[in-house]
Amino acid sequence: MKLLTIHIACFLILSLDVYSQQVRQIIGRNVGWKTLSDGNNVRVFGFADNLSQYPDVPGPTLEFTEGDSVIIDFWNISQGAPHTIHLHGLDVNQENDGVPHLSFEVHHMEHGFYRFRAPAAGTYLYHCHVVSSIHVQAGMYGLIVIHPPSGENYSWEGGYEIHRDHRLFMSEIDTVWHNDTVLLHEYDTTSSMHHVKIPIYDPQHFLVNGLGQSQLIDSVIVTGQVDENIYVRLANIGYYKNIVVLPSGLNARIVSSDGRPLSTEIETDSVVVYPGERFGVLCQASEEFESEISVVYSNLNTGVSVATEVVEVDISGFLGIDDSEHQPEVRISPNPADDFVTIDVLDQENDEVLVKLIDPNSRVLDVFQITQKRTRYDVSYLPSGTFFFYFPRGEEKWTLKWVKK
């Protein structure tokens, strides 16, 4: 009897799903506005985390753990043509693939549920696949990052330890495509195939993480310390080719693509990313420096490079070296935290410090000056995840990794 009980217990334990179930709600809306680097606004379609948000471009980054049982609850509150979510690269089954005539459409005020098991750790995309030429350009796209079961500090199971995880997500905007005459295309819901006229594509705005030119400078920073493994995820959802040129001091090598480790890693400072592709680039600086990553946008028909965007790179400090010269003179506690953190300035002579809060997509979320030894900072507005507090002060710079519960 005792043996039987043990057997039953073992069976039940083994039968349990060792991976968690993740339910993620995403809102689809047609009524977003995006401010471009020239100050003009264009209408966008997009995805948002909740009803109180207007869609941003790109949409929220979805993060799961390999093996998770995931349900994306897509609530389309927009009017007009339906929307879908195509899980680009996740190799989900046909029903959940998000192609209108082969799976299902999500109409106004409907919920669509996409169910899948999170595949191999890596970088993926999601986007609407209804008249995809228009809806992707309209802004209905985002990144998906799948972490390995061993945790966010690894590239994939059995892969590289990563100390920094930066994401550079490229796209373009042609403002003509954002006129209502294009966005609000006809859609015959009785037809399985939808034929829609698309305009000439001639983008004027070139984006990294949804930002271009002056918006990008100082708003997206790739930070790290000497000898850290800095993992830069590159993805392109635009209709142009990207040539991403990294500083030679990063000693970059391409280690993965499209959610799989490469059979042969490539040491290079230049990574070409075509529409729909993703690359994982492992960087490890051997000395401190400031430089920039250039992203060149090249026309696929003419081969002509039409624009370059620049992302700041700042390598300061040394991994694991307890050198007083590089000891941060600030402290953040508690870590992790939920609602508030306390920032303590340890420097006895100077308590004025500039602070930049950077999200996992290398995007600067907040910039503020602290002028006293102890400052309480509200973090309740942040989603769960890993963030960086970056403190540039003259020649001295510190970056502190911090986790929101």
Binding site: H88, Q94, V99, K241, V272, Y274, G276
Partner: protein
């Protein structure tokens, strides 16, 4: 041993199993009807004097040799070249040229007109050679694109400015979606667990980025960069005059799209989704 080209003659060498294929290919000018019923002048390499908008796929086996007769049925001179293996620089209108090649390993090659390659490809001229292992078949995607308002200038031999190229028709084996689904050489049909090879050539003038839904594929051969071999990917860049050989082993049933992720290329005459888009059907 299976060849589809009707004029093929095989001389088998019993000792080695190697074959020499004697083949004839015709450069034909004809009229191409687009998915939206426009009719344009078009050039193609065909296996007979009769024009077809689908450039012939030359199918060989590893270690085969090819002795090729090229007949220029067009009214202007053209050449013939297998990229990386040479050929004939110029064949006068009505003339015939002879060339030969040997192929060692499984691979995919582009053949084209080197005399005015971009302009000829702008009218559709460019095909694929697939060298297979014994008993191995493949599906064939010869992709290209056309700029409709350049067709007549190109057909008359007038110059065009390729730095302003803006194609508006995107073809696989000379067809657009949904017609391409009718092409059994292109439409991948198989079963879970099958080993499926897909030979892709880009005989257009634009870069393309081919995305698979539902599956990752392994790159078996890449003419652009041998370091790409072995990569498992869902999106495959392919540059003009380059080729890829992919291996797909489906793990799930279903009908899944494959399309250019330059989403402008999923159109014809500006109409979505009549471009470079087809589906795989796995039972």
């Amino acid at each position: 041993m299976k060849f589809v080209i009707p004029f093929s003659i095989f001389i088998l060498f019993a000792s080695s199993g190697l074959a020499v294929e004697l083949d004839t290919i015709f450069i034909n000018r004809g009229t191409y009807t687009t998915i939206d019923s426009n009719q344009w002048t078009f050039l193609a390499f065909n296996s007979s004097p009769a024009f077809s908008s689908q450039n012939t796929v030359i199918k060989l086996l590893e270690s085969d040799s090819l002795q090729l007769t090229v007949v220029n049925n067009d009214s202007v001179a053209h050449g013939f070249e297998v990229k990386g293996k040479g050929g004939v620089s110029s064949i006068a209108p009505g003339d015939t040229a002879y060339t030969s090649y040997s192929f060692s390993d499984e691979n995919v090659f582009v053949y084209h007109d080197p005399l005015s390659s971009s302009n000829s490809r702008g009218l559709g001229l460019g095909g694929m050679i697939h060298v297979a292992k014994a008993n191995r078949t493949a599906f064939y995607w010869n992709i290209k694109e056309l700029q409709s308002d350049w067709i007549e200038d190109l057909a008359q031999g007038l110059p065009v400015d390729w730095t302003t190229y803006y194609p508006d028709y995107f073809l696989i084996n000379g067809r657009s979606h949904p017609d391409i689904t009718q092409d059994a050489t292109a439409r991948v049909e198989g079963s879970v667990g099958d080993t499926i090879h897909i030979a892709i050539s880009n005989t257009g003038n634009s870069d393309h980025s081919i995305h698979f839904h539902g599956y990752h594929c392994e790159i078996l051969k890449s003419s652009f960069d041998t370091k790409w071999v072995g990569r498992m990917k869902d999106t495959f860049p392919i540059q003009p005059l380059e080729t890829l050989l992919l291996q797909l082993v489906p793990h799930q049933v279903g009908e899944y799209p494959v399309h250019d992720h330059n989403l402008v290329a999923v159109s014809a005459g500006g109409i979505y989704p009549n471009g470079m888009f087809l589906t795989l059907l796995i039972q």
